[in-house]
Symmetry: none
Subunit: 214 residues, 4 copies
Amino acid sequence: MNIHSLSRDKKLKVTKRSNNDKYNRILEAAVKVFSTLGFFQSTVSQIAKEAGVADGTIYLYFKNKEDILGNVFSYKTKQVFDQFREEVNKAERAKDKLLSLIKRHLEEFERDKNLANLYLVETYQKVRTAEDQIKEMSKMYLDIISEIVKLGQNEGTIRTDLDITLVKRFIIGAVHEVIFTWVRSANDYRLSFVAEELVELIIKGIGTCDKRKK
Amino acid sequence: MNIHSLSRDKKLKVTKRSNNDKYNRILEAAVKVFSTLGFFQSTVSQIAKEAGVADGTIYLYFKNKEDILGNVFSYKTKQVFDQFREEVNKAERAKDKLLSLIKRHLEEFERDKNLANLYLVETYQKVRTAEDQIKEMSKMYLDIISEIVKLGQNEGTIRTDLDITLVKRFIIGAVHEVIFTWVRSANDYRLSFVAEELVELIIKGIGTCDKRKK
Amino acid sequence: MNIHSLSRDKKLKVTKRSNNDKYNRILEAAVKVFSTLGFFQSTVSQIAKEAGVADGTIYLYFKNKEDILGNVFSYKTKQVFDQFREEVNKAERAKDKLLSLIKRHLEEFERDKNLANLYLVETYQKVRTAEDQIKEMSKMYLDIISEIVKLGQNEGTIRTDLDITLVKRFIIGAVHEVIFTWVRSANDYRLSFVAEELVELIIKGIGTCDKRKK
Amino acid sequence: MNIHSLSRDKKLKVTKRSNNDKYNRILEAAVKVFSTLGFFQSTVSQIAKEAGVADGTIYLYFKNKEDILGNVFSYKTKQVFDQFREEVNKAERAKDKLLSLIKRHLEEFERDKNLANLYLVETYQKVRTAEDQIKEMSKMYLDIISEIVKLGQNEGTIRTDLDITLVKRFIIGAVHEVIFTWVRSANDYRLSFVAEELVELIIKGIGTCDKRKK
DNA sequence: GATGAATGAGCGTTCATTCAT
DNA sequence: GATGAATGAACGCTCATTCAT
């Protein structure tokens, strides 16, 4: 269980339960603050206040401001992503696996809107530490999709004339945008309820039956 | 043809030919710098240096740092988006219109990678000025998609059992992600060449023919 | 006893003994720098250096540059003015009260030449924060004079055919100018020693006994 | 007739009537702007706009910003002060001379409120160029008072037991404060009408007849 | 002479980070 | 470990002054 892997290099300063609690409070606060203001407009002081600790305390648990963001991704967000694989394994058929993946994805992000927002915002940002973490998670996600697509092709349920790379972007893009819209909206609908229709769109497309006669 | 509409309110200090050139040089420099570092990590000084002008000169053309970004969108990016509608009008059938739209979109962003990057980065950012501009452009884009979908439904080429809002997100998300991947890649392939396959995916989905028997 | 009342609104960040010292050091430094260069030509850096603190430290105790000046008046200068009333109360007769007031005024300003200078300079300046503070103190001073004059009129020692407003200006103007001259001079004489002669001038005027025969 | 004596050192750039007009327009504009905002908060651009000339034009007539202020005093304000002596000469007796002086002083400053304000503000400021000019004018004024007092002493109308330096400050301070009050008020009364009562105060003081029995 | 666009030094202010307590 | 006052580098922005036209 890797806790603050980034700040570890220097000294493993924090090990006790009670401190772990403080570590988590800071992380939670950071998610909230970062997601509201964005990384650059957020202040270490704000995070400290939100977490109920002194400014200086932050630096006992994190190397610097960037490291906080890094830990949010390597620890908090990663937890979420790690579950995706398990979830996918439970299903048998490609389509069901895809549905499981997306549904779980939407459910998790629905559960923590701040984290969802932060993930999206920072995905497109230029903060070195976070970038690497995100790339890693993104890659994991894309790999799962790859496997599902290949499985579907073997099943005969997914077309074989596809550029896998494109398909991956096609799916992940649609999912991201659906989440993004929800995050920036009034949230008066259940994000996860969209999963089925979205998967259907991905599988069938928007065209009608007779489209291939064209 | 309205140039630098945002900075005009206060005093239209600079209007002569030669100056328009300087206005554009700053804008171009800003696209480059902002897209490389992001808005908050970019420095007015960097933009000035990149544009080959003094720091103070920036403020003859723009109200402040945010205004530069605002102008990039209201002037430079908007130009691009304005062409989309024309392009779409040229085609007759829904599918062709969609192809035109996306192809043109990819072509334009391929032409100016920095602008493409900046657009994506700032779409997910929290910079007030830019946010409003982007929402406006985004809305225009979504409206075009709406029209295309409705046309297709009338033609009988697009399914009528669709949640239009979801479809719009589905399409725009896929396009964005494809562009994003290209921007962050080595760019050793032609972005616009992906258009046809992407549109096919959107229309037909990833499933095989017999999928509806399921 | 309210210390630094102005900067308190936001956050009372600093309250401990040791810090109060720093607050006062900055205030003292500000009086010196402001009085030497005037508000606008003074630099926050100069004040910081004079106080022996870092630039940023200033902002732990004051909201901004103007707030420093505001505090000089609301705290430091006000202390001085507050004593005037007490002093006046000790005397019985109008003339003695006037002498007490002016003597104390000169003594206090003689004690801190920088503060005296600053008060005079900023009285005629346009710095919002200071303006209000000064008006308040000025009003208090004028009120005291009013009371003294009325008392004298009841005693029969002060003429009743006077425009009180004019009298107030007449007195305060004379006092200010006397102080101003001393401040800008080599200070080789005792300012407070002038008090008696000045009061005599105010009471008797410059004319000779037989003047009213004219 | 010394025009812009300060900027003359470099090159006597301006000599034609038409330019003299421009010189005056700038001076007039400067009085207005400086008196409203104070020297340091005024902008050369503001003065140029107020005068209806280009920013650069200012520097054809004045060496720099300070020089504008210097010229306001050496040329415009000096004109006013020069008349005082003539005015005083017309009267015979000391008291009448004093009345003439103060009345004319109030009349002139009443005529140009901006100039009055500027004079007072800058008297207490630290702008080198202006300081010297003002000292010069101030000295002239004080000399006139000296002469009047001595004359009065010879006439037997003014007390001989006076410290002349103090008397001068006593008079000039009262006059300044009366003007200052008017400048900062709504100006709904005639400043010059105060002259007689003020002179009476200076001569007789605020005490009653029987005061010397005390 | 007149213009006003261009310059860049200089200042107020913020905030990540440190360190004495 | 925890604190939060202190630090000072860095940045956005202003404006007096210059100079090509």
